[in-house]
């Protein structure tokens, strides 16, 4: 019972650290404006920056932020969580990304204010971050699945012998 409690606390700790990793990446890339600096430079270099006046171009910019901010933040948090937590990944990988996003959303709420569009500012980023977390978690654990398959195959051949 004591050992199980230790394991659960350890899992919780790694989930929170994974969440912090996610928050950190969002803070550096979005909060400090690193991704905007890159996109701004790219659009200025190609003389496209004026297009941002239009709503359609804002949607394009939004897709870029999904690809360069939210997906990688989820992926990196999933890499950490997947490396540290080996058991029950399907359940445990839900949380780091969501925790990280909640911290980031709270910080933004206090500094910038509430968002008008809940779908684009909350729901879609959470989904993208969660997808990234799973991709990260399973990237780091993929060789374990390969080994499991190889062991099954070798057991099968031994059985036939």
């Amino acid at each position: 019972m004591g050992l199980n409690e230790k394991i659960n606390l350890s899992v919780l700790l790694h989930i929170f650290i994974g969440g912090f990793v996610c928050f950190g990446v969002i803070f550096v890339s979005k909060g400090l404006g690193l991704v905007w600096m890159f996109i701004g430079w790219l659009l200025k270099s190609t003389d496209c920056i004026g297009a941002l006046i239009f709503k359609e171009a804002q949607i394009g910019y939004y897709l870029i932020t999904l690809g360069l901010i939210y997906l990688p933040s989820g992926f990196l948090s999933g890499l950490y969580a997947g490396h540290k937590i080996k058991d029950n990944l399907k359940v445990n990988l839900i949380f780091p990304g969501i925790i990280g996003f909640i911290f980031s959303a709270l910080l933004e709420y206090f500094y910038v204010g509430p968002k008008a569009d809940y779908l684009m500012e909350l729901l879609i980023p959470i989904l993208v971050i969660s997808a990234g977390t799973y991709l990260g978690g399973y990237t780091i654990n993929w060789h374990a699945e390969e080994k499991l398959e190889e062991e099954k195959i070798s057991l099968l051949f031994k059985g036939e012998d």
């Binding site: 701004g40 790219l42 659009l43 200025k44 190609t46 003389d47 496209c48 920056i49 004026g50 297009a51 941002l52 006046i53 239009f54 709503k55 359609e56 171009a57 804002q58 949607i59 394009g60 910019y61 939004y62 897709l63 870029i64 932020t65 999904l66 690809g67 360069l68 997906l71 990688p72 992926f75 997808a131 990234g132 799973y134 991709l135 990260g136 978690g137 399973y138 990237t139 993929w142 060789h143 699945e145 390969e146 398959e149 190889e150 195959i153």
Partner: protein, 218 residues
């Protein structure tokens, strides 16, 4: 039978991540580029913006905040390519709003609207920079889409201070009140005084002269 469990030599989740990242980024950039192409002027140097009431061009390498438009107001905010000047177009569509603005500030004509707005801008700046001083350099009339508008050129000394130093602002405020088409307020200013003539010339030629006012207020 051993199944190949790699995509392009990478673990599938990693490959899916990279592909997803590329798809999102490239499709986003493509949408921006296509939007630009759709709204480019004939010579390819300017972006044409069309609202319900007016249209104008601005240089494609100027940064533009998203256009804001509702039933009563239209707001456009631009920063020039050198990032040292700002152009703002504020268009009031609602007569109720225009009326309360004029009556509330005892304004009588285009010039008084322009001067009042410059004073308001100066008061806001002086809250942060106590030593700021305002000078009106020139007043006059200017043609905007065939209508007579009034303008005032102003200079604010010691307008604001940053780590890099203290800046003066030189700008122009244009006001156009039309019987059927609402109220246009156009302001352009720079915090690089030494470039004022050049910046104002660019603004006038490349943006102001392209402004076409189309329809009446509903």
């Amino acid at each position: 039978m051993i199944f190949k469990r790699k995509i392009f030599g990478l673990r599938p989740p990693l490959a899916i991540f990279i592909i997803s990242m590329l798809i999102l980024s490239l499709s986003g950039y493509l949408i921006i580029h296509l939007t630009l192409m759709k709204n480019l002027s004939e010579d390819g140097k300017f972006i044409t913006v069309k609202t319900e009431t007016f249209r104008f061009n601005f240089p494609r390498n100027w940064y533009a905040y998203p256009l804001y438009e509702n039933e009563t107001l239209c707001l456009i905010y631009l920063v020039n390519a050198e990032s040292d000047s700002v152009a703002i177009i504020l268009y009031y569509k609602s007569w109720k709003q225009i009326f309360s603005l004029i009556k509330g500030n005892n304004l009588t004509d285009n010039l008084s609207i322009a001067i009042s707005e410059v004073n308001r801008f100066f008061i806001i700046l002086r809250e942060r920079s106590q030593n700021a001083t305002l000078h009106f350099i020139e007043n006059g009339t200017i043609l905007i889409s065939g209508y007579n508008a009034s303008y005032t050129i102003f200079n604010i000394q010691r307008a604001f201070t940053t780590n890099e130093g203290t800046y003066n602002i030189t700008g122009v405020f244009i006001s156009l009140l039309m019987a059927n088409n609402g109220l246009f307020k156009i302001v352009f200013y720079t915090w690089k005084d030494e470039f004022w003539e050049d910046r104002y010339k660019t603004f006038k030629l490349e943006m102001l002269d392209s402004l076409v006012i189309k329809y009446g207020v509903k």
